[in-house]
Symmetry: C2
Subunit: 205 residues, 2 copies
């Protein structure tokens, strides 16, 4: 139970920042399970145990909540992964770390991830879309740089860097379409296994 929920359950006053987080968390879960169109402001208010007017005090409309989830998520993903790249490790191990950290992020913030992936492609607001694109580009730029580093170090053969980056990101981005949390490998283990497949190749030697 999050701190904000404990407070809410106890009927205590709750900090505005905690309230925001509470609203974003419940909204992300609702968007991920019922879809954006299937979720109303009333649903969100009810899930948070607050009145609709209090909800509207924090967010003008559903679009704004959605945008906040999506933008925050891409930025946080980027920072999360960056923080987990081991300094001084070999370039291939840094590519591996990029992949497993993305898997970890996906596992921890699964609802946000799913809601933000959907939001990313459907948000009609140009400015917000640009801001998200900036973070998305930074995230994609990071994996390209790591691949280039591995080529420069002589660890990777001289592959097409943007295409290899796409392959890595595709494997990670598609995971939310099929991954079932209740069975088998964790997302980080899957990402690690993908790294092995791509790094070593399928070809028998």
């Amino acid at each position: 139970m999050a701190r904000s929920e404990i407070k809410a359950a106890a009927g205590e006053a709750i900090e505005p920042a905690d309230r925001m987080l509470q609203i974003l968390t419940h909204s992300a879960r609702l968007f991920a399970t019922k879809g954006f169109d299937g979720t109303s402001m009333r649903d969100i208010a009810e899930a948070c145990g607050i009145s609709k007017s209090l909800l509207y005090h924090h967010f003008t409309d559903k679009d704004e909540i959605y945008a906040r989830i999506a933008l925050g998520s891409t930025q946080r993903l980027c920072e999360f992964v960056q923080d987990r790249l081991p300094e001084g490790a070999s370039p291939p191990d840094r590519v591996r770390a990029f992949m497993t950290a993305t898997g970890d992020y996906f596992q921890r913030y699964r609802s946000n991830w799913i809601a933000s992936t959907a939001a990313f492609w459907s948000d009609p607001e140009q400015r917000r879309r640009k801001e998200r694109m900036m973070w998305r580009d930074r995230y994609e730029g990071l994996i390209r740089q790591l691949i280039q580093d591995a080529i420069d170090a002589g660890d990777f053969r001289p592959v097409d860097v943007p295409l290899t980056g796409r392959l890595v990101l595709s494997s990670l981005n598609w995971m939310h379409r099929w991954y079932k949390p209740e069975k088998g490998m964790t997302p980080a283990q899957i990402a690690d296994a993908y790294f092995d497949l791509i790094f070593n190749g399928l070809k028998a030697r």
Copy 2:
């Protein structure tokens, strides 16, 4: 201009089968550009240049059109790819052919692909979902079989077959999220380059 459109423009009577295809094609394009919720039966009728009552004569509602696109698309993808596997080619070349054929299919039927990918995950009708799952499983079963064949022939090292299948499908399925038809490689060329990356691996030798 499709045959049905020429006929429609000329004011001629048009065959029911052609009419169905015309409706499905226009609907797929509208769903892909405006989204399912952003597309009305009126929009579809207008795009086809027919009355709403004629449209309702063919389809009960928007859901039925959507389902038809989605189901037809998965089934056709499966058959399209199957037909393009070269008999007597080496197992790795058959895996490659699976990938490039999927790329070709994506290029030819892009609107349907995009609409059906969205529909696949959001269709509330259990029976239809099951029917599509059957084709989706057959398609996934096909790539797993091809990978297993390549391992059995000693061409692939003994990799995890389901996971390798997921990696291949992820690379292809994610393409619609970033592919721009106006520039660069064709989808089949991208699929071919992915095969090379995955088959040979990134590791310098």
